[in-house]
Amino acid sequence: MSVRIADVAVVGGGIVGAACADAFSADGLSVELIEAGIVGGGASAAGMGHLTVMDDSEAQFALTSFSLRLWKRLETALPAEVEYSRCGTLWVAADDEEMAEVERKRQFYTLRGVTAETLDARQVAEAEPNLRPGLAGGLLVPGDRVIYAPCAAAWLVKRAIAGGARVRTGVRAVSTDASMGAGMVTLSDGGRVSAKHIVDATGAASPDLVRPRKGHLAITDRYAGFVRHQVVELGYLKSAHGHDIESVAFNVQPRATGQVLIGSSRQYGIGDSRVDAHLLARMLRRAVEYMPRIATLSVVRAWTGFRAATPDSLPLIGPSPRNGQVLLATGHEGLGITTSLGTARLLADWVAGRKPPIPIEPYLPTRFPAEVHRG
């Protein structure tokens, strides 16, 4: 088999790899995108497609808010099948303690220029009539968005191809080697790609520092207007998804089709991709606690996916400590759809030697000691 030569070989055609191929291609670099399955068919397809500004840390805020700005620049260009929705996020507070969190969150966002509005009990009930009565209130973040990620990934790849990128699907990268300033990717069909830079965007399959976090989702038949915003419990941060090995949280989303997407669950240390009936039941019970009428909605499908989790919940963006030719673009955990565009921008700037719009340092893989990487 011949060796193909490119400036950048992107391994992994999820939304992050697709965004990277698009960004490098836009910079005029020759790009080879290698995807073992289909574009956008892994964690990108398994998730909710929630584009959200998050405040767990300054670094997380910087990357999510920057990325959301990049998405908003695309909103008129995205085709209808991407189902770009301006539904916003409604963070729901069950009690006074969570209302204190609403206030903290509101201040955090407001100070940083993100619109956020505190809703009292009555306003929350008006915003989402299917929420149970008696909730304390909530925080509305109207700027958040929702997309259908598989089609977004496919669109980014189409744009990359239009810019000259070459895409190979159904082919695995079996090894990557680097020496003397060039990397070599060997493919499962015997082909090879020689590239100055290799981008590892394989998500939970990435060997460095990430561990798979399993999640469940369920989707209903069509009930247009049942839910209006992405509605998430604030316990998501506080208790529900703490450090337990297994947890669930109330998180529902209106799809453009009128379907209701119901989440969420987290499990570590599970390799089996099958739906866990007990955890699915727990997840649905949590949803029914917040929105009792969900119990009457017809569920047409449930599925699972694996996200790439890192020890500090920040992604790995930049040169691999083990191999400088390999640029990591992984570890995005639950925020890969949002942060895909920001990740691609940071890596493209790094390769081009441009000053990035936000500092890349918090996401550099070298923030972890080398021995952790080998583990």
Binding site: G37, I38, V39, G40, G41, A45, E81, P150, C151, A154, A218, T220, D221, T257, I262, R274, V275, D276, A277, H278, L280, A281, R282, L284, R285, A287, V288, I294, A295, T296, L297, S298, V299, V300, R301, A302, W303
Partner: protein, 407 residues
């Protein structure tokens, strides 16, 4: 808390294979249950017939009939999760026999989604359920012996059968008829149908190409013409119901559940009988059901005595398959704008842009609706040679509240 039941043998499906399996198993097993989503046993073929021998035998046996109970998932242990109305019920088993039957195959052609176009078996079920058909002009089209059975039934109910259009060639049908003539029971059945259908044109090598309001365009021997009719009842053979087997991890081969000589699937303790292992009709389904019943209750010798009868049934199955193989012209009827996935309104043109089932699903939503690809999946397989090879729980839509209850 959900209800929980436990049986030594659980049979899913109360058609011929399931009834035979359960009755056979009940001779030996401590407890046997049949689970079926219909209100009465009999399956699609014996629907509404209270007095078939196997139904009577099951009713007079210790077999517990759990009707109106739809299996939707497998919680992981040797147990099924089923829906009875809006209530969940957990059904535990030591051995499981899948006799989930088959459904009609629909093929997309221009106009096939119009309200006057129905499945052949679907129209029969509607009429059995009280839909008035007397005096209506009906054309039955598609392929296979079931067309004749449906046409005869509808005629008995007062419908005017304008034509039965069989896509298979005259030569293929005649060759198959000679096979039937060697089997006395099948011959009697056929003669009975022919008597019911006296005077009804049976056109071989003939198929619908486009349906419109009040008329359907047919093709035969290079000629295309319109036939007026109130309903077009279509059935292009049967598709096995393999979703539950797939959910349980049973391997399939060429779209059918793979079984060994004892009817055991690749999952130990899980057996399969009837149409899911190959479309061979009620006779073969009953033999397979009995073999599965013997095997699941540890009686290999009794099972073995039925192998020759099963072999005969399988020879019939192969002849059936050869005679009524769908002609390739049928795959060329859909136009780019013809809807293939009715749940999600996805056209053939959009589907044909993609190369694999996962990409078709992800990029077009084909197969993502409430029917969960039961209709469009086989159609996509026939049109593009892409099998719809993914199954997700629940295998039938159920209220979230039902899935939310803990064991």
């Amino acid at each position: 808390m959900k209800d929980s039941l436990a049986f030594e043998i659980v049979v899913v499906g109360a058609g011929p294979a399931g009834l035979a399996a359960a009755c056979t198993a009940s001779e030996r097993a401590r407890s046997v249950a049949i689970v079926d989503d219909n209100p009465a046993p009999g399956g699609q073929i014996w629907r509404g017939e209270a007095r078939t021998p196997w139904i009577e035998r099951a009713r007079s046996s210790p077999v517990q009939l759990l009707t109106e109970t739809q299996v939707v998932a497998s919680p992981g242990e040797p147990a099924l999760l089923a829906a009875r109305g809006d209530r969940p019920v957990e059904i535990r088993y030591e051995k499981l026999i899948l006799a989930t039957g088959a459904r009609e195959r629909f093929l997309p052609f221009p106009g096939w989604t119009r309200p006057n176009v129905l499945g052949a078996g679907g129209l029969q079920a509607l009429v059995k359920g009280g839909m008035p058909i007397a005096g209506k002009r009906v054309i039955v089209a598609g392929s296979g012996p079931l067309l004749l059975a449906v046409a005869a039934y509808l005629r008995r109910q007062g419908a005017k059968i304008a034509m039965v259009a069989e896509q298979a060639s005259r030569g293929a049908v005649l060759k198959f008829a000679r096979t039937v003539a060697r089997s006395p029971s099948k011959l009697m059945q056929t003669l009975g149908l022919m008597r019911d259908l006296a005077g009804v044109p049976y056109r071989t090598g003939c198929w619908p190409v486009e349906a419109a309001q009040g008329e359907v365009k047919f093709r035969r021997g290079g000629r295309t013409w319109s036939e007026p009719c109130d309903y077009l009842a279509c059935g292009f053979g049967l598709v096995p119901n393999t979703e539950l087997a797939a959910l349980l991890g049973c391997t399939s081969q060429d779209g059918f559940v793979a079984v060994d000589s004892r009817q055991q699937t690749t999952q130990p303790g899980v057996y399969c009988a009837g149409e899911p292992t190959g479309i061979g009709g009620a006779g073969l389904a009953i033999v397979e059901g009995r073999i599965a019943g013997y095997s699941a209750t540890g009686r290999p010798d009794e099972a073995r005595r039925l192998f020759a009868e099963r072999d005969r049934g399988n020879r019939f199955r192969i002849k059936l398959q050869e005679a009524f193989r769908l002609r390739p012209e049928l795959a060329a009827l859909a136009r780019p704008e013809t809807i293939v996935c009715r749940c999600e309104d996805v056209s053939f043109g959009r589907i044909a842009e993609h190369r694999g089932w996962q990409a078709i699903k992800m990029q077009t939503r084909c197969g993502m609706g409430p029917c969960q690809a039961r209709i469009c999946g086989p159609a996509v397989d026939f049109l593009l040679g892409i099998p719809a090879d993914s199954v997700r729980p629940p295998i039938f839509p159920v209220p979230a509240g039902l899935l939310a209850e803990d064991l």
